[in-house]
Symmetry: C2
Subunit: 335 residues, 2 copies
């Protein structure tokens, strides 16, 4: 590659590299993505500065009850924005012992979608984001744009319960939904922890001899946990809101809930969606590549400059609206 | 997000951020991608060290004839490897004034593919990689795996000619191919400069009222030149073989050969494929997202830890073989 012959390009120095492929990166100034919106740029700066303030206020060492309240408070502005933009009615109920909230857009369910339903599995690091705000903030925009019914699952959380309990709760809801809907007309999606649980729920369907849902959306997550690859090493250092670092060798214990290679070959139509500044990007890239290699109908959408969870938190940036519209369209496609 | 409760994660410090979203990244050690192969890791280290030696030998200031010889010499080991792996016969000819080389796999064209042909448009920064080695190294693996005829175009190069001349040469070959093949059965692909020319050729078809080809592959490139977004700022500093830096604001003059938004909506089925360490990744991500938003049947495949042009240069790494197989499968799909 050369630049156009008119201009003399600036050239970066070659960084030192060790035998094991590790590069010593010099300090440098990284501008915000030239492809992202000005709104996204402002949101990025604001969030990074808020993180510094939160750390100063001691958020990193708060107890779980406080962290849960803070998570709900943090999501409230986004939920308010989505509620104004996508009016809905909702009902809270229990399926077995699992609390759910069912969302129906005020504009009504679009013809053809009466036979369809989506199950929304909220994020929040497996230990936060349950109940009201966490489920609604991810269900409301998709229900409103897709004009479809969405059932948000208030699954059991860590540390009081296990990840297996969370998966069991999703399957309890899914089994109930299957009394009314055909499996191919059920979609399942989640962001962050919710994306991981989505992958585990599909795997649990196979192991429990339940039919798998027709389509799944895994946002800001992957089939095998979050950490691994370049993005997990890079973005915590470069300004992601998620600053935890994986071990340098990327070797984490395998989670028994994760799908095996054989199970991945039987995965349904899948959409991976995240930002290029998310620590989970490499995981999403790798999961999508593996599914495509197995011949599964998988799609990958990345938003340049966007961070982990942008489509939940950043209600004011155009990238979020575009993401919600593409998710709604994905679930609306014939299958 | 939190880590599993058993372990105490390492946490990266929050880097300083300025009002315009620029982050001051501290120096750090970046391990090689935990998702990439050991062969890819060795190739990365070897290439980075070779770059240091080449710079010491003065390659950056060599004249164009020397650079072209060096490019051919650099590609020869990969071509030898592909020739052993995917035996072929080839014939050189001229279509109008355009030299081409037509490749047929020794194993024969697979039934169903007699009606199909692929046009390969080599890379090399618009000014290198023509003729023998450059065309063959990108045509041979795809011809061999897909078991299909591939015509490699030896288009005119910069600085003696223009990018428009290169596009004209591709269209001369395409027009000739259309005398024998239906447009929907013609595929067109290229890596790096060849990927950009592929996008321009489709655009030129629309402007010249030629039917567009059925499917295109744009590898290590995008619809709108190479530079822009995060990857163009990041990877030249982090160890990519391509160390040219775009202007920090990412604003480059629009190339009139690029497709307009209206033209992008009429694009054929497309595959974008590159590595996450390639400076072109953000461009590919952005082009794919735009096509999907317009409803075009676009696919995106990223290989974690791989650099610009890996599928041409790195004949010994499993990621290259996987990429070639996925490209061959893409063109084999019904359309």
């Amino acid at each position: 590659m050369t630049a156009s012959p008119q201009e003399r390009p600036r050239v970066a120095p070659v960084p030192p590299v060790s035998e094991n492929g590790a590069v010593t990166v010099p300090s440098f100034e990284l501008p915000f993505s030239s492809f992202a919106s000005l709104e996204a740029r402002s949101a990025f700066t604001a969030r990074l500065r808020a993180t510094v303030q939160m750390l100063a206020a001691g958020a990193a060492v708060a107890d779980i009850a406080t962290l849960r309240r803070m998570a709900d408070t943090g999501l409230k502005p986004a939920l308010d924005a989505y509620t104004t933009r996508y009016p809905y009615t909702s009902t809270k109920s229990k399926i077995g012992n699992v609390p759910v909230e069912t969302f129906v857009p005020t504009a009504g369910i679009v013809p053809g979608n009466e036979k369809r339903v989506l199950i929304a599995i909220h994020g929040g690091g497996f230990d936060k984001g349950g109940g009201g705000v966490g489920g609604a903030v991810e269900a409301v925009p998709i229900a409103g744009i897709a004009r479809v019914k969405v059932v948000a699952v208030d699954y059991r959380l860590l540390p009081e319960h296990t990840m297996q309990d969370a998966v069991d709760d999703v399957l309890t809801v899914y089994r109930d939904v299957l009394r009314t809907y055909e499996p191919k007309n059920v979609g399942m999606y989640g962001c962050s922890a919710g994306g991981a649980i989505t992958a585990w729920a599909v795997t649990a369907c196979m192991r429990g001899e339940l039919p798998i849902p027709g389509a799944i959306g895994i946002f800001c997550a992957s089939l095998h946990g979050f950490v691994g690859g370049d993005s997990a090493q890079l973005w915590p250092r470069l300004g992601s809101a998620i600053r935890m670092l994986a071990p340098a060798d990327g070797n984490l214990p395998r989670n028994p809930l994760d799908p095996t290679a054989e199970e991945m070959q039987r995965f349904p139509k899948a959409l991976f969606l995240t930002g290029t500044r998310a620590f989970d990007m490499s995981g999403a890239v790798q999961s999508h590549l593996a599914l495509r290699t197995f011949g599964v109908d998988s799609q990958l959408l990345l938003f340049d400059g966007m961070d982990h969870g942008f489509l939940v938190f950043e209600s004011g940036v155009p990238e979020t609206r575009q993401a919600h519209e593409l998710i709604a369209r994905f679930f609306a496609e014939r299958r």
